[in-house]
């Protein structure tokens, strides 16, 4: 019964651990390897303005997250300007101002765009609001007749927009369409006009301007399409086809008929948008997407910690794997070291001294400590006083070794922190107790075993993939716990016992 209980508990722990990990891996897309990469786009806009000498106001738009894309690492480089942002309808305006600017001024905006694997909910569900109709009376009556005509030839809002757009883009346009468009047949003009006509008919409609991420280059064209509010959401319509869909690579930047940049008090000399494809780590990608996947991952994962704590947890989260290794070595293999989890702690202190130097340092300090302990034996000191004297000696020894290695430039990365010192002292104490109880050979054997086990633990715990896995998927520790519980009920032979009792197996009883 007890075993069944353990099996069920272990299975439950493993299922929760693996389930959570699988969710994070498959749904959120947290990678198993921290260097796995995914495509993303680096977008840079550059606006050059020749200032007239007086106050200068430059206005452009900030790229924001959408349902399809996430914007990361947004940076604005405009050293000559005061920078403010302010919401403006469906957009966010970037206002750059200068009091008495002269000459050529440059404002740059740079960001990374990731595609959302799962469509994010609308980040700021802005209720549609009535936008002004800027057509004159004649144009408005033509627009109304175009609208009525399209309305008559369509079944619902979506097909209405498609019919209207087709009427606007068709090469053999009707006379009234040509009147409204004038000489400008660009998609931008058509989108703006379609929005106006739809507004006349009582719809919420707007032109959208953005870029096509699939067309990379140092100077890419902006794209324009149409958004119409249907039901409770905005539907995008392609100007080229009139269909209610746009290419997946279209990244919306700003909405409405405003140009990308407008200048007061100066002259816009150049505006340019560049798109390059970059390899972003899947990890950053997933974390960026995690912003939308619900608050859980973003707010309660280890990644949300400030950097110093994150660094500490990178280490702490690897302790369970070292502990499991000790449990395996102890209960399945039958190897014993000094103390229960001392080798894991020694391995942790190797992190600060590096493996080779750590082994040298540890062995040297341990041997010196034991020698001094042997000498103190003649002085007939009481236990605690003797241990205290040994600790003081070890501290002096570490100080000397550190100063020497520093003077000789022996190991630039050497850092003997407080932590290894405590571990070292504890180890010397344990080893000297074993020395007293079981003799020098046993003590040296145990110490050597401990160092070997610690070296293995260090190799395992300091491996970057291991650190990443347990940091990204801390719930895997539940799986380790399940394994530990199972080993805790393992009543078979240890590997060492097969050698120990081999004589019994060889003979017939």
């Amino acid at each position: 019964m007890r075993n069944l209980h353990i099996y069920l508990l272990a299975a439950a722990l493993a299922a929760v651990g693996l389930g959570l990990s699988a969710y994070k891996f498959f749904v959120i897309g947290l990678p198993l390897h921290e260097r796995a990469s995914v495509s993303a786009w680096e977008v840079e806009s550059e606006i050059r303005v020749t200032a007239a000498g007086g106050p200068l106001k430059l206005s452009t738009f900030v790229a924001e997250d959408s349902r399809e894309f996430s914007v990361l690492d947004h940076r604005i480089a405009a050293p000559d300007f005061g920078v403010t942002t302010a919401p403006d309808g469906a957009n966010r305006r970037l206002n750059l101002t200068a009091r008495a600017a002269t000459g050529l001024l440059v404002a740059r905006q740079r960001f990374i765009v990731h595609r959302n694997e799962v469509r994010a909910p609308e980040r700021r569900p802005v209720p549609p609001f009535r936008q002004p109709i800027t057509l004159d009376d004649t144009a408005q009556s033509i627009a109304r007749s175009l609208y009525i005509s399209a309305h008559g030839k369509s079944a619902d809002a979506i097909s209405l927009v498609t019919v209207l757009l087709r009427a606007l883009i068709s090469p053999d346009r009707a006379e009234n369409v040509r009147y409204l468009l004038g000489d400008d047949h660009s998609p931008r003009k058509i989108a703006l006009l379609a929005a106006q006509i739809l507004r006349v008919g009582g719809h919420f409609a707007r032109a959208v301007q953005g870029i096509d991420l699939s067309k990379t280059g140092i100077s890419v064209d902006t794209k324009t399409w149409l958004e119409v509010h249907v039901g409770d959401r905005w539907v995008s319509f392609s100007i080229a086809t009139g269909e209610p869909r746009i290419p997946r690579s279209y990244f919306a930047w700003w909405r409405g008929d405003a140009p990308f940049a407008s200048v007061e008090g100066g002259k816009l000399t150049r505006q340019r948008i560049s798109v390059t494809q970059v390899e972003e780590t899947v990890l950053r990608h997933a974390l960026a997407l995690g912003k939308h996947e619900g608050a859980f991952l973003a707010n309660y994962s280890l990644y949300s910690l400030p950097a110093p704590q994150r660094a500490i947890f990178h280490v702490i989260m690897t302790i369970p794997i070292g502990v499991l290794m000790l449990v395996v070595l102890r209960n399945l293999v039958g190897l014993r070291g000094v103390g229960t989890f001392m080798p894991v702690l020694i391995a942790l202190s190797f992190r600060e001294t590096h493996l080779l130097w750590g082994l040298v340092l540890f062995s040297a300090a341990l041997s010196a400590g034991l020698l001094v302990r042997l000498y103190f034996d003649h002085l007939k000191l009481l236990l605690v006083a003797r241990l205290g004297a040994i600790v003081m000696f070890v501290i002096l020894l570490l100080a000397v070794m550190t100063v020497l290695s520093d003077k000789l430039n022996f190991q630039p990365g050497l850092s003997v922190a407080l932590f290894p010192l405590v571990i070292l002292t504890m180890t010397i104490e344990r080893v000297s107790v074993i020395w007293d109880e079981s003799g020098p050979s046993e003590a040296i054997k145990m110490a050597a075993f401990s160092l070997v086990i610690a070296a293995f633990c260090y190799a395992l715990m300091s491996a970057r993939p291991v650190q990443h896995i347990f940091f990204a998927f801390p719930e895997l520790i539940l799986v380790l716990m399940a394994l530990t519980l199972l080993i805790g009920r393992y009543s078979g032979y240890r590997l060492s016992e097969l050698f120990r009792f081999r004589v019994l197996a060889e003979r017939q009883p």
């Binding site: 009481l382 236990l383 107790v433 009792f501 081999r502 019994l504 197996a505």
Partner: protein
């Protein structure tokens, strides 16, 4: 033989492994709170006296370092005595004093010890250097056992002792532990003593284990260790059979010595007895423990429990006796 083959064979014979001992017998049978009863030899002694079991006479006990300076006044009247930490493990910290050399003490291994040395040793014991958890300890000074002459040729310097494992009141396996020069007169196997299995039915020794190998002679005297009849073995079985009820521990190692005048004396108990006894007996403990559980022999009265042990755990024919 492959490792898997060895594992299968050991399982067939019923050899008990460390994990099974801890998980299947010690954890369920030995409640942790009873450990102090056996870890502290003073408590064990009191318990045994209450139960009417013979133990070596207690000469003195020291609890505070202020008492240590008076050690000579208290102990000088005894020619021979043994100094022990009450919470010692594995025979560490034990000094056996055998007579005097002038103003100094003579140890069983013929080394000379000053009274100062002895007092320092006792201070160390009080400071907890030999106790399991390093906590403060007590010093125990007791009668020095004069071992029976039957062991004269098969021991070296120290007192041989008899380890019996009792499970639910049934003695299941026994071993005679003989000090060697390597063990410096101590009867602990991991310090180099040899252990000879005992046929529970007759009380005669079987072949011995020395450092995980099977031997038939004492490594110092080369005398044959098997086939030695242990005197008063019946009384030893009775003592062992009573230790479970006395302590409440279901699985216990009972250490006895055989004094040439006082007969069997119970030295100490062990809640985590070692597994090498299986090599000494060339038999598996698990098989015997399961036999006790199958027959529910723990419920029988003491005499029948011993009879059960003698009937079921006798050395098999073909074993060298």
């Amino acid at each position: 033989m492959s490792l898997l083959g060895i594992a299968r064979r050991l399982h067939e014979i019923g050899v008990l492994g460390m994990n099974a001992r801890n998980g299947d017998y010690i954890l369920p049978c030995n409640p942790r709170k009873l450990y102090p009863l056996v870890d502290d030899k003073l408590l064990t002694k009191e318990l045994a006296q209450k139960a009417g079991l013979a133990t070596p006479e207690l000469y003195a006990a020291f609890q505070y370092s202020g008492e240590i300076p008076h050690a000579r006044e208290l102990l000088d009247r005894y020619e021979n005595f043994v100094v022990k930490p009450a919470n010692g493990s594995g025979g560490s910290g034990i000094l056996v004093i055998k007579g005097r050399v002038g103003n100094n003490l003579r140890l069983a291994n013929h080394r000379v010890l000053t009274w100062d040395d002895l007092r320092f040793h006792m201070q160390n014991i009080l400071a907890g250097i030999y106790s399991l958890g390093g906590q403060d300890d007590r010093v125990l000074v007791e009668y020095c056992v004069e071992y029976d002459h039957v062991f004269d040729s098969i021991t070296y310097l120290g007192v041989p002792d008899i380890r019996l494992i009792a499970y639910k009141g049934v003695p299941v396996m026994g071993m005679l532990r003989l000090p060697t020069s390597e063990s410096e007169g101590k009867a602990n196997l991991h310090q180099g003593a040899i252990g000879a299995g005992i046929d529970l039915a007759s009380g005669r020794t079987l072949t011995a284990v020395w450092r995980n190998a099977i031997v038939n002679e004492h490594p110092d005297s080369l005398a044959v260790v098997s086939g030695v009849q242990i005197p008063h073995f019946e009384r030893m079985l009775a003592i062992a059979a009573g230790c479970n009820a006395m302590t409440g521990l279901g699985y216990v190692g009972v250490d006895l010595v055989l004094d040439r005048d006082k007969g069997p004396l119970m030295l100490e108990l062990n809640a985590r007895p070692g597994l090498n006894i299986q090599i000494a007996n060339r038999a598996g403990l698990a098989a015997r423990l399961e036999a006790v559980d199958r027959a529910d022999a723990g419920r029988l009265p003491a005499a029948e429990r011993i009879a059960f042990a003698k009937e079921h755990f006798a050395a098999k024919a073909g074993d060298p006796v």
